[in-house]
Structure formats: structure tokens, C-alpha cells
Amino acid sequence: MTTLLALPLLLVVLVGVLELGALRAVAYRAAAAADLATLVAVGDQDQIELARSGNLRLAADAADTARDYFARNLSATAPALAASATAIAASADIASFPTAPSFDPRTGVRYERPTVRLIALVPVKTPGFAALLMPAVTTLTIRSTSSPR
């Protein structure tokens, strides 16, 4: 009798745990996509400035590059997302700070090197939570910054 009574509770806990685990996995992948996007963006330097002064200065299109590669890498997680990877990348707040030192007005951080910063809201489908009368979509906030060495 105890087993029969406890079974619904056990199923609720199981669904919640599995959904939370899946959400953590998607969060990890989205964060990895953001990291790779900002890394790719800072990997490309202003060649003229580098040849002239030897200083690192980000390419003029660094923010656009980060957005493009964020969308490309996020698309691997597309089935779990509640919006298209392109739309998520398009709405992401991506800022390039080509020279250093610089100050980021959004985060209040001072960067000592040229930096690309990305903040994105990633909506993830959570049907398991919906079955437990919780939101069917959970929005994750992903942050990433990269600087060249």
C-alpha cells in the first residue's frame, strides 16, 4: 500500500530531477557556444594596427563575428530551444571593446585587455516542468567574455 501511495510522489520527483538535469545540460551547451563565439571573435586582430604598433586591437567586426558564431554553435541545441538560434543570437547583447583599458557600462567591469562581451537570454523548452504545472519555457541568462593574449 505504501508503494502505491508513494508512487505518484516518486514520479513527480523523478520528472523534476530529469528536467532539471536536462536544463543543466542545455545551459552548459549554451554557455559553451557563447564561450566559443567570443573566443573566435577575439582571435581575429586588426592586422594593420598589429603590424604598425604591435598592439592587440580587435577587428572592427568582432561583435558581428561573435553573434554569427554564437548562432552557429547554438544551433546544435536547437531542438531544446523555444526560439530559433538565429533569433536568440540576434537579440543577444554583444559588445566589443577593441582597445584597453575600457569600461563596460552594462556590467560595470573594467577590462585591461581588448574584450568581447556577450549576454544572451536563452529560452529552453521544459515540458517536464509544464507537466508539474510549472512554466513550459525556462529562460537562461548566459554570459561570456573573452580577451586575446
Binding site: M1, T2, T3, L4, L7, L10, L14, V17, L18, G21, A22, A25, Y28, R29, A32, D35, L36, L39, V40, G43, D44, T65, Y69, R72, N73, A76
Partner: protein
């Protein structure tokens, strides 16, 4: 008195049967799900690093294959079970390079099913060699 004892014994048998038939598959489902997720994330990490390295090398090179094998071993995945694809083979400067890894993992839940799940990881980086 004898009747009561008989009922309790029957109830205990029923509960044990339910536990074995329902709880054991549930327990294995949790274990298999966790194990599969761990594999997926570990393989994903290797794909990301490999994509960056492919960008640095300029595409699919023997060094990249060796690096992928080494990284897979480090995360506990047998490299011979992983299919590695790099597109394009030679990547131009500022062009995208895609590294895809795929493993077929066996998932078995007692009393329910046993199947093979394809675990795929893909990462896209950019060519960094100006030829």
C-alpha cells in the same frame, strides 16, 4: 488471526513485485540518463576544443586527429568508437570550420527496452591561418 497473517503476507508480496517491476526500471533510467548526459557533455567539450584547434591548424590534420583521440581518452571515451568529421578539410582564413563527433551508446532499462542512442556533438570555429 490466521486470515490477517495471510493478508499481510500477500500485501508484502504485491509491494515487492511492484517495487521490482516499477522502481528498478526507474532507478536504471536515472542511472542511464545521468551516464548518457555525462558522455554527451564530455564529448561536447572535446568537440569545442577540437574546433578551435582545427581553426588554428587550418583544417583536418593528423595533429587534430591525435588531439581528439587524446582528449577523448582523458574524458573516458574510447576513441575507436567515435566518428570524427571535419568540414571543410582545408579551411581558409576567417572561414568557418565544423567539427562533429558521433558515438553510438547502448542504453538498457530492465523490463522496458534496450536501444542504441546516437550522441552527437558539433562545434564551429573559424580558420585562423592566412595562407
Amino acid at each position: 488471526m490466521r486470515g490477517w497473517r495471510g493478508d499481510e503476507g500477500g500485501m508484502a508480496t504485491l509491494e515487492t513485485t511492484l517495487m521490482v517491476v516499477i522502481l528498478v526500471p526507474l532507478l536504471f533510467a536515472i542511472l542511464e540518463f545521468g551516464w548518457l548526459t555525462q558522455r554527451w557533455l564530455a564529448q561536447d567539450g572535446v568537440a569545442l576544443q577540437a574546433a578551435r584547434y582545427a581553426g588554428e591548424l587550418g583544417g583536418d590534420r593528423p595533429e587534430l586527429r591525435s588531439y581528439v583521440q587524446e582528449q577523448l581518452r582523458l574524458v573516458g571515451i574510447e576513441p575507436s568508437r567515435v566518428i570524427v568529421e571535419v568540414e571543410p578539410v582545408n579551411v581558409a582564413w576567417r572561414e568557418p570550420v565544423r567539427v562533429s563527433l558521433r558515438t553510438d551508446e547502448r542504453v538498457a532499462i530492465p523490463f522496458l527496452f534496450a536501444t542504441t542512442v546516437a550522441v552527437r556533438s558539433t562545434a564551429v570555429a573559424r580558420g585562423e591561418i592566412n595562407r
